[in-house]
Symmetry: C3
Subunit: 205 residues, 3 copies
Amino acid sequence: MVYYLDLFGVGVFAVTGALAAGRKHMDVFGIVVVALVTALGGGTLRDTVLGVRPLFWVADTTYVIVAAAAALVTFSAARFARPHPRLLLFADAFGLAIFTAVGSQKAFAAGAPGLIAVLMGVMTGVAGGMVRDVLCGEIPLILRKEIYATASLAGGVAFVLLRSMAVSQPVSTTAAVLLVVAVRLAAIHWRLSLPAFPARDAESD
Amino acid sequence: MVYYLDLFGVGVFAVTGALAAGRKHMDVFGIVVVALVTALGGGTLRDTVLGVRPLFWVADTTYVIVAAAAALVTFSAARFARPHPRLLLFADAFGLAIFTAVGSQKAFAAGAPGLIAVLMGVMTGVAGGMVRDVLCGEIPLILRKEIYATASLAGGVAFVLLRSMAVSQPVSTTAAVLLVVAVRLAAIHWRLSLPAFPARDAESD
Amino acid sequence: MVYYLDLFGVGVFAVTGALAAGRKHMDVFGIVVVALVTALGGGTLRDTVLGVRPLFWVADTTYVIVAAAAALVTFSAARFARPHPRLLLFADAFGLAIFTAVGSQKAFAAGAPGLIAVLMGVMTGVAGGMVRDVLCGEIPLILRKEIYATASLAGGVAFVLLRSMAVSQPVSTTAAVLLVVAVRLAAIHWRLSLPAFPARDAESD
């Protein structure tokens, strides 16, 4: 079950990568590369940090195939239709939630301390999107957007707290996923955002 | 034999890195850093993904020395002469071909699935150049240029197919190298390029 | 002793990361992310290259806590006061010196060849700052600034030479730290810089 949700997240993130690359007029190969990096980057960093071998997408190439297929479908369909921005935001919130829960769970299962499990959830959720934006020549949106990674942080904390209280893994995972989706959708709906760095005065920047 | 070709590829990629850094007015240290990252970055990612320890340039520091020397020679010679752009394109095509074949071969030898071996060939060939462009503040050219990574992809697929049909490693490597060089030079000569993302309308971007 | 100095370096680098992120109007989460990457990025790359498991900040989460706390304090204090630029330069020189010495020492202890130990020192010292600048949409300053990484290089070489001559580790570490600080402060004071790539003519760029 979590496996199919994870593949869904990979597909969604690949679509966001393909759209971002397309906006920069990359060719079809560049689009597939950016899609793969967006969809698999977070988990790759996580597995590398945790020392998990082989990487999840080397052990199961379905992940690569799903991401590449999502990118190619996005590319092919782009001349006829593009996903509705709002639909994409919802799907992306769901992908973020799944990636966060899977990341925290893998770290927890590998015996990492709670703080690291939280960090691994956030890293799995947001690192792919950060690299996507860097490759597209942008400052990662995630670092300045309305509450995004914060939703991931909340989910990671919830997962680790629940597991530490011996709540079963399926329940903890479900709770974390729902929390991330709820926080993210609330942030989108009410345009919530975190405080930014105070500009001391205009000239100082 | 493959070893010396690999070192040649390292030298060529270091020169492209040094020239790109020089164009951004980096100092001599920045030039060496960008050259090292360009020349060794792809293989470092590959070894990390495959879990190969120690990394190729830690096990054999000749790679580091060749890359640093190529960067310093490029820097020193830059006030007198720079490589002819066409010569550099040819050398770069050759470097890409060798890196692709070596990457696919190492993954194949490590028992990776065919799809992963192809990906490792492409990653070895193009990742260094991508990081070079990011460090220089550019959107990676490889993602939008005339057929470049596609040449690498063709070589990786050819290598894996030939090896799967029990063709010997030297023959498979040679065929992959020649195919990449041929595709790349054809792309340069006839200015071939892949289709890019269709702009739906001018305002949408 | 080295442990507390190392934590000091982590705190200083986190502050530079938080200030750079703040200048780009990132929100508080983005500021913490950039601070963590700046403070822990170099050591993470080093441990990954050397194959050290678990990563230093997974094994001891104090590093994560110090970096996150430094970022939050910087963020909170920013509306009242910011560190004096000169003080920050001094602290940063000290952080660079410690990171270099620790990086070279860990590589040396892991049995890496001398050249790799020097490289690991420089990588530990400068990689975090490079990723910080890339995330902030800038060409890494380190690659073009007055002698910075060169100071790190001098410290790494000194450490490896001293250790190779069987000088004890505390003495070698102290000497390397002092050398990096001295070179860096001299470079700041006299505005020393390395030669850059010669522009052949204005039109060529």
